[in-house]
């Protein structure tokens, strides 16, 4: 990610590519810095913060990768590197707006990081089990030409733990920034089920006659929705 890319994307998001929040009741979030009423011109922040983040973020991101990849030879590892990498995303979100960062790092990316890391870790543990060994018995990993113990550990740290930590932390950041009631996304809490509607499926829910009928029918409400929503219901 270069600096020019980030600012261009930010400008695009500010001008009107705000598809997700387009149907959001603007009165609920009027006055917020990241609401679309005040985001007509591109999101601007103090020049000090924006330019400093442009300078610092690449270095911090590189350093997070270094801590992750070099955990075998110096202090660090997947957990620390993942946390630093997630902090870089926080930094960018503070400088260029949380909504713009939300569109840049879509929910799919965040979930893929967390789920993929967990699956890779579990897979690396279960492959030796399938070959007749113990859980995470690295020397049974089928790695040609490479030391399976060393590179198995590195794979667990780099492809397993670091994506889990960074994905979950970025996800926590986004979901906490959205707030409890989603800032006007969907009906109030009392009117929805246990896992309430989100802004994406608020519209199909309004079209349907009853919420419970819709959840029973597997075909309804799935058009145009992200796959994660349909699967979770």
């Amino acid at each position: 990610m270069s600096d020019a890319d980030a600012s261009d994307r930010d400008a695009d998001a500010g001008r009107g590519g705000d598809a997700e929040t387009a149907d959001v009741d603007s009165s609920a979030s009027a006055g917020r810095l990241d609401s679309e009423t005040r985001q007509g011109p591109p999101y601007t922040e103090s020049q000090v913060i924006m330019s400093t983040v442009k300078v610092v973020a690449p270095f911090a991101f590189t350093y997070g990768l270094f801590v992750t990849f070099h955990g075998g030879g110096s202090p660090g590892g997947g957990f620390q590197g993942g946390a630093i990498t997630a902090a870089v995303v926080f930094m960018i979100a503070f400088a260029f707006g949380i909504e713009s960062t939300r569109q840049w790092l879509a929910n799919t990316v965040v979930v893929a990081l967390a789920v993929g890391g967990t699956l890779v870790f579990a897979g690396l543990g279960l492959v030796p089990v399938a070959r007749g060994g113990a859980f995470l018995q690295y020397d049974l990993l089928p790695l040609p030409y490479l030391d399976p113990v060393k590179y198995g550990m590195e794979a667990v740290e780099i492809v397993g733990i670091a994506p889990i930590v960074s994905g979950v932390l970025v996800g926590l950041f986004f979901v906490l920034a959205r707030g409890f009631n989603g800032e006007g996304s969907g009906p109030p809490i009392g009117e929805r089920g246990y896992l309430g509607s989100t802004s994406e499926d608020a519209e199909p829910a309004a079209d349907g006659t009853d919420e419970t009928d819709e959840t029973d029918d597997p075909n309804s409400g799935s058009a145009g929705q992200p796959a994660t929503d349909g699967g979770a219901r």
Binding site: E45, T52, A60, S74, P75, M91, F94
Partner: protein, 101 residues
Amino acid sequence: MSVVDATLAAGYTVGDFLLVVAAGFVILAIGMLYRAVKGPTMQDRVLAVNVLGTNTVVILAILGAALGEPTFLDIALVYALLNFLMAIAISKFTVERGGVL
């Protein structure tokens, strides 16, 4: 015989001297803590935490030199990079509450 010669003759190394310097920086941090705790306004606290973070970077670097562990500089680097994040997070929170934060 100067002070430096006297301390060297007494068996103190540069590492011991650096540890005393680091202790001095920690005492400075305790002094700055007064502003972080008392600070009438939040701006005082933000500045105090920022100074404390910079102070910690210096302390960690001195500790790395004093104890002969160059890898301690990694931790100092993390603080140098992330202290800025803490400062802007708190300052944005105080400038416009309910804004981006």
